[in-house]
């Protein structure tokens, strides 16, 4: 087990290195730089001054030097400052991460809370009306993109109820009630989409497991249906579901970009998109590396969860 974990962690290094090269390269290939964006629509900045600013920000150095410096900064856990705002990136992340974390966690909870019971119900009542309803919900979740659903929700909430989540982010510690009002609807929008794939997977795996011999044995022993489904079948059916949930994290993070924009939440998504638009190299690179590291770690956690769910699984 430990060997497996260590081996997997060592594999993280080339993955992160490759990611760093890709993001660094892509940012340099894009036309324009942060200075151009920063100057706004004035244009009356002389070449000399631009050159001076470029030098001050280290943008005039050869690419390999810029890359080496950045990698060193990342390794020493000091990602530097935003070119655009001059704010330390660590400070920006400290503000943005809790927002995205809260949104993603709530969305994940909502997604699972919807997906697993509906999936189980669909499976246990296959081809019934409730199964069809569950499947329609799942297909809808897959079909409606977040930007559409989010825009629709906020528009019709305003027209029908004369209410929308309060704009202007407030942290959970400042005002839990206001914070909850701000997060619940965006999390539901994200969670609904997330629930679709999870629900479909839950349904199909539960259906499959319900046909296994040991489940038949459980029925034959005269166990209650609830115990057969939730204690014996569901746990074994969850392995592919956990894989799907783990895989959905990437989708979830991508979804937060749109949802954070619609609901005016200052999370990682908005931070990254803005940084890309303004060629804020250090911010984009740091954010991408952070997301890459998070996904790699979560994938490892998902893999390790298999052993807990199914004791037959051994890591070598």
């Amino acid at each position: 087990m430990y060997k497996y974990v260590i081996r997997r962690m060592l594999l993280v290094i080339p993955v992160l290195l490759l990611s760093s090269l890709v993001v660094f390269g892509l940012m340099r290939v894009m036309p324009g730089d942060a200075l151009t964006a920063l100057m706004g629509e004035s244009g009356n900045v002389g070449e000399k001054e631009l050159a001076k600013l470029r030098k001050d920000l280290g943008l005039d150095r050869p690419y390999h030097e810029q890359y080496a410096l950045w990698v060193w900064q990342m390794v020493s856990l000091n990602p530097g400052h935003s070119i655009f705002t001059n704010e330390p990136i660590a400070v920006s992340l400290k503000k943005a991460i809790p927002v995205t974390l809260e949104l993603a966690s709530l969305a994940m909870i909502i997604g699972i809370v919807i997906a697993v019971p509906v999936g189980v119900m669909s499976a246990t009542r296959q081809d019934s009306a409730s199964d069809y309803v569950g499947r329609v919900i799942a297909v809808s979740g897959l079909s409606f993109p977040e930007f559409w659903l989010g825009t629709l929700v906020i528009t019709f909430a305003a027209i029908w109820f004369h209410w929308i989540p309060p704009i202007g982010y407030v942290s959970l510690w400042e005002s839990p009630w206001k914070n909850l009002q701000q997060f619940l609807i965006p999390a539901a929008v994200l969670g609904f989409r997330l629930s679709a794939a999870t629900m479909r997977m839950t349904r199909s795996t539960v259906l499959e497991v319900l046909r296994e011999d040991y489940v038949r044995t459980a029925w034959a022993k005269g166990l209650e249906g609830r115990i057969v489904v939730y204690k014996h079948a569901l746990k074994n059916a969850l392995i592919p579901v956990v894989t799907i949930v783990g895989g959905q994290l990437g989708v979830l993070l991508a979804g937060t970009v749109v949802v954070e924009t619609i609901f005016a939440l200052p999370g990682m998504g908005r931070l990254t998109v803005e940084a890309i638009l303004f060629r804020d190299y250090p911010v984009v690179q740091t954010n991408v590396m952070l997301v890459a590291a998070t996904l790699v770690t979560l994938n490892l956690v998902v893999d390790l969860t298999y052993a807990w769910l199914d004791p037959r699984i051994r890591y070598r």
Partner: protein
Amino acid sequence: MRSDTPGRIRPSRLNRREFVRISAAGVGASALIAGGRRPAAAAASPYPDWLPASTKPPKRGGVLTRASAWDPPVIDPRHTQSVGLFQFAGLTSNRLVRHPFSDEATNPNDLTLKGDLAESWSANADHRVWTFKLRQGVKWQNVAPLNGRELTAADVKYCYEAYAKEGVQAFTFQEIEGMETPDKYTLRVHLKTPNTLFPQNVAEHVAIIFAREVLEEDGDLKKRLIGTGPYILKEHTRKVRVVLQRNPDYWDKGRPSIDEYVILSTPDDATRVAAFRTGQSDIIWRASVSDVEAIRKTNPNVQVQAYSNTLAPFGVALAQDRPPFNDVRVRRAISMAIDRQKQVDTVFEGHGILGWGVPYIYYQDTPPTAKDLGPWWQFRPAEAKKLLAEAGHPNGFETTLFYYEYFPQMSSQVQLVQQDLKKHLNINVKITKLDYTGYYGRYVDSKWAGMSWGFQSGHAVGLDERTYMYMHSKSTKNFFRVNDPIIDELTTKLRRTPDRAEQRAIAKKIVDREYDQVLRMWMPYDNGFLVFQPHMRNVAAGALRRTDGYGCPTIARSWIDK
């Protein structure tokens, strides 16, 4: 309708179909009156273009909130002219000279200069030396390190020197040769060349006076913005909010009326509309009549001001320093092959302007018609083809056009131009759509070939900025690459002409030359609408200064009638 509710619209409940019908009837009638010629550009707006000031005494208190698309990247006025900063910087800080507020002006086009920090100003005979007499007793905001000390002429001198030294305003302030402060309240500015329009330049929204101590302590102005203005910057959390709190020691006693102004960063348009509908936002900009009507269905009592643009900020910029665009016949042919009225009718729902670059209010009383723009601006495809053939391109040519989609309608405009040029001149335009930074970097670099969907900066109000600064061949803001000796001569002459009537005559000559040589090929632009909650007072936007943008200082005179 209450007399103290300026601009409130009677609940006529026009639907879109009725509106189009009525507009069409109106346009038809105008066309008949005009002898059957094609309507100029804009359909009549069902909303007033001016909201008169309230006759009631202002009430103190309340919080004004606005969901805003813009988020200031930095708050250093030396390094940005972005509306993100100047949607509130005009409230934290003052300028030497300003334009009239909505409760002082009688119409949106009133640009009479008023004293802001300066009580009076005068020039010597040749307009090279300008003397500004400052108000006495103006105090910086009571925030460390200023702690409410008195503003002096030395502060203004320091500030202008800093602007000239580096940043986006350097070109403007580098025309200052030197400054002296004979006493605490007098600033004498010596210019390198005569400029009768210099007070207009220091009245620009971006020419705010910042605090010397902050720049000296921090080395930049990125973290703190302290001024002498009616509001103190209490909070600036990027991507969340800007909070401005009433300055109790403001020199204009009794003002401002509103206690707090909160700008909420709201990047999504649908969310801004929802925020307005639910009362979380008090001001919103809408681009079209149908957008306004949609809001009025849920909020029938809102106040609407039709905002008529006095210029078009966008146009087709040609690489006119190289073939084929250095041939005036090619430029004229292209201009004649573009159906601008079609763009107004289809893209802007009939509520737009044909496009011109210098604010018309500086040279005539009414917006230019197609006829005023001259022969090369009429849609005459047959003559365009003939002219292009004369220029040696009977079979057209290939070219490129890059642009950034500043607003959704722009892509439609670009495609219509592409269609027109292909159809009428056989010019194949390969379009490249870029993101902002990619576009901006390439555009201002001024080394591109072919075409670009060009812009002129949005903040400027003054005539000098809109002529000399944007069109003189030596100016770093001359994005359209105008290089015309007559324009250089006229724009320089304009700066040396103190008489208003003569200024108007010269400005007219400049635009006539611009139209004749098609130096900047302006494209249609929309007239929009400012929508206010029913309880807002004295919020009307003036020409070139929208209340929700660069014209924010007007909020110093606004109040909430609740």
